[in-house]
């Protein structure tokens, strides 16, 4: 009867969630909710409180204050039962280097109390899924970062989780390895697995998330789908201008005369937020300014973040 | 040596000042090794205090428990088999050689392996004008320094407890250091080639422990079963124990002393040659 106050689809629900470490407040009263089958992202720079939030959802970090329910349960009292239904890809790989690739899945599956026959069948399927079948009997340590990441993802799926938590799934990987990981995550999403991920890569958030929250300094600055966030907080196009270092300041002042919705002066560039980038560039040239390079591009989440926090994401 | 120990901090390997060789090629053999040695000394400044404590505490504990405690049983039963000396006097030189072996094994296994595998300081060193052999020699100099330190502390404790009977014991110090080097050079040559650290626990358990127990430290090798005696005589540790004992008892004979030294030196030099080869193979890949 009390259940009626919670929407049926809410798999995770946080209200005024706070995490403090001593004097330091990592998560400062955030609210969010997510439903089955969603791909939900926490976007923010390092230190925004994303990982602390993920650890609370993963039931390995008791909240300091506020309310958190996961799968309808309390993460502190029912942590073990909740974790049985989660898959976790931590920020740093925690693969078992004393075991082979396949053994990592077998042993991890046992932690969930799964029958050996079930694990063996799933391990074979998951290694196939992350394209590691040929490396099944190899030691883990010499694997490349990308392969380790894929193995971690396979491992997190061994218990057929209802929610998959991914903390910075592709940080530190080369572009090719990142795309390989994204491809696997996209397939999982197609299969209806609920994804929760943190990232400080805007392209990752745009590729994978149906909905995301922008986090900064422990707080949520905005929430929505990547498209609505861009529509709400930025313009369709952005004109990026680079000047010679000694002309940079002067040029920025002159640019105030260009009709733009907003102007951002960064250390090395000036960004003009406009509806039509090419038209704006013509206006700039008309003012007699000679940028060394110019680029017209679509707005991204990076611009949203800049607008909301005044800082860049990946610095 | 103490002047080097007090050398200013920082990475002792630096790209090198005047006369360091640079592009003109490496300087005369051991001057390059000295840089690596200074690096290890700098590193050692973090832990030297603890090593002094254990350098004193180990001889106190072992000589106390075994030399005096167990010794009271042995002396009571009669020490004819020990050549008429008290058990403490018999045991002290044996444990001195064992200390050298243990120090050498400790310094030549994990630190070497870690420098290649964990910290990669060896790779960093050979990116400078240092050659693999300089890196190897530099670490051996450091092991020599640690051996000298631990063996001196041991001899001092043994002398205070009454385990030394002759002034010749002063010569037992270089002999103990040489015994340590006979373990250090081959072990380093091997340790640098390892890819997993489990090999070391095997060496400790199947190498160090049996040597410690069966090389005539606790009783004359003559007490061992006949088939085991030739094995004991073949080990470098026994030669170190025998010569240290002859010296601390003041009963060394030039002939046998020379034989012991020659044997230990041969092993150490063979290890040196092997190490120069294996360091090069591992660090120039």
């Amino acid at each position: 009867m009390l259940g009626s106050s919670v929407p049926d689809h809410a798999l995770i629900r946080a209200r005024g969630l706070v995490k403090r470490f001593g004097e330091f407040t990592a998560v400062d009263g955030i609210d969010f909710e997510l439903g089955r089958g969603e791909a939900f992202g926490f976007l923010g720079p390092n230190g925004a409180g994303k990982s602390s939030t993920m650890r609370m959802i993963g039931c390995v970090s008791p909240p300091t204050a506020g309310e958190l329910t996961i799968l309808g349960m309390d993460p502190v009292a029912d942590g073990s039962a909740i974790r049985a239904r989660l898959g976790v890809v931590p920020q740093e790989d925690t693969l078992d280097v004393e075991l082979t690739v396949r053994e990592n899945l077998l042993v991890y599956g046992r932690y969930f109390g799964l029958a050996r026959s079930v694990i063996a069948e799933r391990a074979a399927r998951l290694l196939e899924f992350v394209q590691l079948s040929e490396r099944a009997t190899d030691q883990v340590e010499p694997l490349s970062g990308g392969l380790k990441r894929r193995l971690t993802i396979a491992r997190s799926l061994i218990n057929d989780p209802e929610i998959l938590l991914l903390d910075e799934p592709t940080t530190g990987l080369d572009p090719q390895a990142r795309h390989a990981v994204w491809d696997r995550l996209f397939r999982l999403k197609q299969q209806g697995v609920t994804l929760v991920l943190t990232t400080h890569y805007m392209d990752e958030a745009e590729q994978l998330c149906d909905r995301l929250v922008v986090m900064d300094a422990g707080k949520i600055a905005a929430e929505g789908s990547p498209r609505t966030l861009i529509e709400r907080y930025s313009t369709p196009e952005v004109l990026e201008l680079r000047f010679d270092p000694d002309e940079h300041e002067q040029a920025a002042e002159k640019l105030a005369d260009v009709p733009a919705q907003r102007q951002e002066v960064l250390a090395d560039r000036v960004l003009l937020y406009v509806t039509d980038g090419d038209a704006a560039l013509a206006t700039v040239r008309g003012l007699g300014l000679q940028p060394r390079t110019s680029l017209v591009r679509r707005s991204t989440l990076e611009d949203v973040f800049l607008r909301l926090t005044g800082r860049r994401l990946e610095d | 040596m103490s002047a080097d120990a007090a050398a200013p901090g920082g990475n002792g390997r630096g790209a090198g000042g005047p006369g360091a060789g640079g592009l003109a090629g490496p300087g005369p053999g051991w001057s390059m090794a000295l840089r690596e040695f200074r690096f290890w000394l700098t590193d050692y400044r973090r832990t030297w205090r603890g090593s002094i404590y254990s350098g004193v505490l180990n001889p106190v504990l072992f000589l106390g428990a075994l030399g005096l405690g167990l010794g009271s049983l042995v002396n009571h039963h009669g020490s004819a088999r020990l050549g008429g000396v008290s058990y403490l006097v018999f045991l002290a030189p044996g444990l001195l050689a064992a200390t050298a072996m243990q120090t050498a094994m400790g310094e030549s296994t994990f630190p070497v392996f870690g420098s290649v595998k964990w910290n990669k300081t060896y790779q960093a060193a050979v990116a400078s004008p240092l050659r693999p052999r300089d890196v190897f020699h530099g670490h051996l100099l450091f092991v020599t320094f640690r051996l000298t330190m631990n063996c001196t502390l041991f001899l001092a404790v043994a002398a205070i407890l009454g385990g030394i009977r002759s002034g010749w014991a002063l010569l037992a110090l270089p002999v103990a250091v040489l015994t340590g080097l006979a373990f250090a050079t081959p072990l380093e040559a091997w340790a640098v080639t390892r890819s997993r650290e489990t090999s070391f626990s095997l060496i400790f358990r199947f190498g160090m422990i049996p040597l410690f127990l069966f090389s005539g430290i606790f009783y004359p090798v003559g007490q061992l079963p006949a088939w085991l005696q030739p094995v004991a005589y073949a080990t470098p540790l026994w030669h170190g124990v025998a010569l240290c004992r002859d010296l601390t008892l003041g009963s060394a004979q030039p002939g046998s002393a020379l034989l012991h030294v020659a044997y230990l030196a041969a092993v150490a030099v063979a290890g040196l040659a092997a190490g120069q080869r294996s360091y090069r193979r591992r660090l120039y890949v």
Binding site: L2, G3, A10, R13, R15, F21, V60, S61, P62, E67, T69, L71, G72, P75, V76, A77, D78, G79, S80, A81, R83, A84, V88, P90, T94, L95, D96, E98, L99, E103, L106, V107, Y108, R110, Y111, F112, G113 | G50, S54, L57, L61, F62, A65, L66, G69, L70, S72, L73, V74, H77, Y87, L202, R205, I209, P210, L213, F218, Y219, Q223, L224
Partner: protein, 284 residues
Amino acid sequence: MSSTREAVSVRELPLRVVPVAALTRPWRNLGGRNSLYLVQRHARAYRHMWLVLLSGLGEPVFYLFSLGVGLGQLVGTVTGPAGTQVSYAQFVAPALLATSSMTGAMYDSTFNVFFRLKYAKLYDAVLSTPLRSGDVALGEITWALIRGALYAVAFLAVVVAMELARSPWAALALPAAVLTGFAFAAVGMAATTYMRSWQDFEFVTLVSMPLFLFSTTFYPLTVYPRALQVVVECTPLYQSVVLMRGFVLGVVGPGLLWHAAYLAVMGAAGLLVAGRRVSRLLLK
């Protein structure tokens, strides 16, 4: 209990205020059945390192041969428990079982646990599954016990083969070895959770070395002056040595229960502290 949990998950009841106290209740940190999965993990990992596993067996046997046999001729007979005269090998053998149970358990629960805690991040992985911190502590200690029991069986076989056991009571040396392992593994693991770097392991040697040498392993208590005897009688390894010697030499009385109780209490206290500390370290 589990049916309630099922019902809750299906109905998706609203949240409660988080009872932080739940984490600090000691009994929550005593592990349960799930700890066996960690034991299974170790058993599998050691398939790749079976030689290391086997090598642990060699050490006490080497000591027994060297000291019992070689040194025995210099020592003659020794006064064992209750004034019995025994050979030196008979005197040393049970004590070596006690010391090897201690060092084996300490090694497993200090070096290995520290490596898994700080470097391999094994417990971070384990705690993202249904296992709890108490399961980690219990699993590690159980593994140390299983390994210790294997060694003890092998060593006892050697002792019996060398005709050093004087009574069928010697069979009880096996549970005594497990109890010794439990006491030292639990305290060792608790201590490890306070370690900051490898340098701190000097303390492990600083404690285990004197215990090894002075707990009447190599000579009877009567060698010491009375004041020192009292000190030795209070130390943990001494309890184990007395138990082992009593069983192997067949001098058994109710007094041995006190020594067993000492070790049991020590182990329980260590287990409790270890479970709490693991959760404090990893569940931040």
